[in-house]
């Protein structure tokens, strides 16, 4: 039996690493992967709590997260590819010529 609260802590750490990745990296592919890691961290925490409550809904949530991530990655990569087709360099600051 692994210590559940430590797994939650690990999830938080992974979440933070993913958030840092999205914020400091400029390559859309890497940013996207970092965002995927945030989702994964959340899924891990859901599964952990599901284990501690003996409640399957947490696992269902994690499963849905995985399925949604698949759809999201499909769309995301399609967008990245179509952007890349037209401008042979990937850099989010280049991409957003107009700053918010």
């Amino acid at each position: 039996m692994i210590p559940l609260n430590w797994v939650v802590g690990l999830g938080a750490a992974l979440f933070a690493i993913g958030a840092v990745g999205v914020m400091v990296r400029k390559n859309p592919l890497i940013m996207f992967m970092a965002a995927e890691m945030m989702w994964n961290a959340a899924a891990l925490v859901f599964v952990t709590f599901a284990r501690s409550f003996h409640d399957m809904t947490g696992q269902v949530m994690a499963f849905i997260i995985i399925g949604t991530a698949a759809a999201e990655v499909g769309i995301g990569l399609a967008i990245i590819v179509s952007v890349y087709h037209h401008r042979h360099r990937l850099d989010i600051d280049e991409v957003s010529e107009l700053k918010g």
Binding site: F15, A19, L29, I30, E36, M37, V47, A78, S82
Partner: protein, 176 residues
């Protein structure tokens, strides 16, 4: 506990690797490491089905797609991207995120949820249990995920449809 430490090191190492890797290919490989570590965690947390799904869907499908795109986009290029300077704003955001994440991690460790230590219900987390959920009361969620995958399919078609001539843009009626 030992298993936890090893797996945690693997997961964290993979996570940090994703963020610091210079090349997207390396990031993707690190992410696979991270995902596989999580999959083992799932087994340890009595979520066998999810572990399998994680390996098949994430490591298998998603990451292969990632790797494919990464190699497609960077093939034949000088794949080292230019040095990324850390702009002040990004650095601040990053530091804030690290602090917030650290705080969250401490919170998670210090405040365990109400845990039921033993007596897992039958079929908890295995294929049978998940099936009972997903094909009964939670079926609608599965349907929603299916619709999202449909969206993805349409999306890929829309985004990569052949470009029309510029002068035809705005012409009403039949789509080419």
């Amino acid at each position: 506990m030992i298993a936890f430490v090893i797996l945690a090191i693997l997961a964290l190492g993979g996570g940090v690797g994703v963020v610091v890797a210079r090349q997207p290919v390396h990031s993707a490989l690190f992410l696979i490491l991270n995902i596989l570590a999580l999959a083992i965690f799932y087994i340890l947390l009595s979520a066998e089905f999810l572990a399998a799904a994680q390996v098949i869907v994430y490591a298998g499908a998603i990451m292969v797609l990632f790797l494919f795109v990464v190699t497609l986009l960077t093939a034949g290029k000088d794949d080292a991207e230019p040095q990324e300077g850390l702009a002040g704003q990004r650095l601040t955001a990053g530091i804030l995120a690290v602090l917030a994440g650290g705080g969250l991690a401490v919170l998670g460790v210090l405040y365990p949820s109400q845990s039921i230590p033993f007596g897992l219900p039958p079929n908890f987390g295995n294929l049978h249990g998940m099936g009972l959920n997903l094909w009964n009361q939670d079926f609608v969620y599965l349907a929603a995920v299916a619709l999202m995958l449909l969206t993805a399919a349409i999306g890929v078609l829309v985004l990569n449809r052949p470009q029309r001539r510029q002068h035809r843009a705005g012409v009403k009626g039949e789509d080419s």
